[in-house]
Symmetry: C2
Subunit: 217 residues, 2 copies
């Protein structure tokens, strides 16, 4: 076999094709063979050189999405014109607004049958996103007076777990009605922490995503 001179390019092609197929056919209904068929000329061996399994490809696809999402979080975190509370609001608003969320909710990976994916999302949320993005924003809020808490690390974790895991209709299968009710309780929890940052526009967008997911699964 000829040595591949551009392994990164190959990986990128595999991930782009896989993402599109996962969207079109759903993850469960996409086979490694389907992916190969769309990669004209690439052998099965070449795929398995880079990825151990279909699940491995899915993890890389989600990693790439995470990287894009973290880019957005970085811009908001480091924005010089907002106070802490405003940044927190902007993060929620922008995170759900992203156009790519429609694609993610259309791919609709079945977390119900995928403990590893849920596990990695859960730990990414608590071990990476909370300390790297939400915590510095809460700390800024404490120092600029817009957020009040003695426990910034723990508040960051709890808010993110509720938002990213509990309110995620892909993890806990929710109807639009249930999503609405979760959102109201989440909003009440945030108010209890003095964080009145949830508005109707966010609610509408969340319901839209829930509907996309319900339709696609």
């Amino acid at each position: 076999m000829a040595r591949n001179k551009h392994p990164e390019e190959t990986v990128n092609r595999i991930l782009s094709v896989s993402f599109r197929l996962f969207m079109e056919k759903g993850y469960e209904h996409t086979s490694i063979q389907d992916i190969i068929n769309q990669l004209g000329g690439l052998s099965k061996g070449a795929i398995y050189h880079h990825f151990k399994s279909k699940e491995d490809i899915l993890l890389a696809v989600t990693d790439r999405m995470t990287a894009e999402s973290n880019q957005l979080l970085t811009v908001i975190r480091d924005c010089p014109d907002l106070n802490g509370k405003e940044k927190l609001k902007t993060i929620f608003k922008e995170s759900i607004s992203r156009r790519v969320q429609n694609d993610i909710f259309t791919v609709a990976p079945d977390f119900h049958n995928n403990p590893k994916l849920l596990f990695s999302l859960l730990h990414d949320t608590v071990d990476n996103v909370a300390p790297d993005y939400i915590l510095p924003i809460i700390r800024q809020g404490i120092s600029d007076g817009s957020i009040e808490t003695d426990y910034p690390e723990q508040l960051a974790e709890l808010i993110l777990l509720a938002a990213n895991v509990w309110m995620n209709p892909m993890i806990f299968d929710s109807t639009e009605e249930e999503s609405h009710r979760k959102f109201m309780v989440f909003s009440q929890m945030m108010q209890g922490f003095g964080l009145d940052i949830i508005d109707d526009e966010m609610l509408e967008r969340l319901l839209e995503l829930t509907a996309i997911y319900q339709k696609s699964k």
Copy 2:
């Protein structure tokens, strides 16, 4: 092979021995052979007749614990002398007080390397414990005036996820200091929902369990 006339008894013996070994040696360091060695006379085939794997045994062991825990929840839920808010407080207090919790935290299954176990705990919490035990108590609280919410199902879920998953030092490895800080944020969240049911005695017990876990792992 002679047909086993008492399969239930055999299963019980396997689970009791396994639970003890998981406690003494830790789950990771217990082999199927260790379990067999303690079951004098039982063949490897007999174990594999009932359980597919060591993980399968662990799931059965935790199921048995869940059954015991549910018994306690049932007694409190159906107790005629308490209002809804008092029942909620009693459930938290009694759940962490149970002597068997020391054993569970000593066994200290490593959730970090066990996505399936975490997955099953997460879904058991949201799909069973919340609707079967916490929801009826919140509903009672609404009707007796001790709890106020328009979203009893979602409040039950969020409270339990925070308590059973986020505050569980076996899932999100916490030092005593971190456990303490999580507890304070949890208590603040509960107060935000009008539920001032967390007291210092509970905090002390939680720190005790965290210390047991930290020492055992």
